[in-house]
Amino acid sequence: MKLIKWTLCAALAAATGVWSDAAAADTIKVGVIATFSGPNAIWGKQFREAIDVYLAEHGDEIAGHKVEFIYKDVGGPNADASKAAAQELLVRDGVKYLAGFDFTPNTIAVAPLIKQAKVPAVIFNAGTSSINKQSDYFLRTSFTLWQISQPAGEWAAKNGAKKVVTAVSDYNPGIDAETAFSKAFEKNGGAIVEHIRMPLQTTDFAPFMQRIKNSGADAVFTFLPAGPATFAFTKAYNENGLKDAGIAFYGTGETDETTIDALGDQAIGLVTSYHYSDAHDSPLNQSFVAKLNELHPGSRANMASVGAYDGVHLIYKMIEAAGSDGAKALEAAKGLAWESPRGPVKIDPVSRHVVQNVYIRRVERGVDGHLVNREFATIPNVPDLGYEQ
């Protein structure tokens, strides 16, 4: 019976954080929940490599605290695993910050936990606007589809597009992109001639290309998940003569750095609206990319890398300001501004989402032979436009 009481006490103490504080001395642990295995393992890989770069540049100590990262694999979109991982990190490992989060359901599942434990969670990717409404302890250093699609719509309308057809994958991010783009485009005097929603699993886009052609539009705005779908879509775009017919291509993350070289020459000339390109012209970005290449030869920085890099920076700043006090750390993070490899960024105090420049880019062949997204227009300081929708 004594043993039982003792174990219960220990569990309770750990839950309230008393016990782990004493045991952990001055090491502050950060739990990184992401996908490190299976078909979506690229997220975890990019996160980890960017964290490595940050650690190599800034060391693992800040304001007298040692920072330790604990990685937890959830194997893809899996809310059950994500919540259990967060619970384990909070209860057993006594982490004071959570980070990572590639998929929306994985992120929303931890909302009640971080609220109760008062632990800030920094989202490196999951880009659904409504996530940050689920808990005040969510902070995000990636992007939302509203944030990049609405500027794309405005820019397209002001730069010659009159009639646009939207073609998006039929799932939540696709619908967000479609709505944001259409609203902005129509507001600025353009006309959307047709909304096409394509099945998520398909890789045969020829029939959709015909519909795009028949719609009489002079441009197509698209959103597809990175991977085989994007590859097949751009291929179909070229092969079905849309490019030759003068129908411009506007996208968002389709030309991601990790998959762009696989697209080959057919990608050259594609125009996308996004918040990060590894060809961004700034000394900070150059040193970031160089360090990444030094630590992990062959890796390319993409939006996940910069999300993680800035996320770790945010965590360091919070630790510097508040140590392991979650509530105080959260206040310190609000309004924080810094120079990121993607350009100037700031945490919006209300939405707790990153305010950043959105760039219009065109795919070109870079000096080293790789395909790159060359930025040629900037829409400065865009907040999360989807937060109030």
């Binding site: 839950a15 209860v91 799932y171």
Partner: protein, 328 residues
Amino acid sequence: MSELATRPSVRTAALSLGSIWPVAVVALGAGAAFFLFPYDLAFLTRIVIMMVFVLSFDLILGYAGIATLGHAAMYGCGAYAAGLVALHISPDPLLGLVFGALGGALIAWLSGLVLMRAHGMTLLMISIAVTMVLQEAASKARWLTGGADGLPGVSVSPIFGWFEFDFVGQVAFIYSVCVLVAVLVFCQLVVGSPFGLALKGIKGSPSRMRAIGTPVYRRKVTIYVLAGAIAGIAGALAAQVTGLVGIEVFNFSLSADVMVMLILGGAGRLYGAIIGTLIFMVVHHVAAAIDPFNWLFVIGAMLLVVVFALPQGLISLPDRLIRTFRRT
């Protein structure tokens, strides 16, 4: 003949004895785990829920010999049913379980009417198709399910109005173990009943069973619906514990994992399902904690060893060892 004559008395005795000790072992094991690993309750709860799910699959694959790759269909429907009930009707967890079971049973009945007429490869393919159709439907019905973002905010009231789900996960764990024990007892009753014997017969030879007058198709649909209801309960538990239902509940990998766990432990025995789930999940967890990047190798190697060395599953290991010792 003599075997048949002594059957009833032997069976009642075996049933009463046989139904007490595995349940006791599970309850004791769960109790020990509760005190030995107070920080891992969230993970232990996931194991228990998965045990319920694998048990339901054992009923159809292990006992009736129906091999499908779409068992996630019932799990997912149960999860969505429980989630929607909690959000829109009543947050009572037990009511959620009832609706989860109904959801799983309903989809099992609807799909089972077609599925149970198919065999082998056709059955595998159609069962995968059913799950994919459901996933696509859940993804499209955004107004109802939240689509790919998941159905958030599923919160349940305290169990019996007393036991509130706590942060460490103690209540969730005990609750799941109680459900597991109830399901285990129910499965034992089913397996030990004449209906269960008919299922074993169908697994052995459907044509002979038909010849002695067993309505094979109807028996198969019945067990499919029963297993569907239990799978639905597992889904409902997961929804209540996690507080969110994503379209991933219909993932093909979930159906495949269940089959792997069952074969690992040993199909056709109820403990096989429990041991297989325990070993698979623990090895997965430990390997993933040690090396979050390459742990899949460990799982793969373990499966290969078991399939080649112990085709009957890990449950046959003691028998095998005893036989080897006796020979030497």
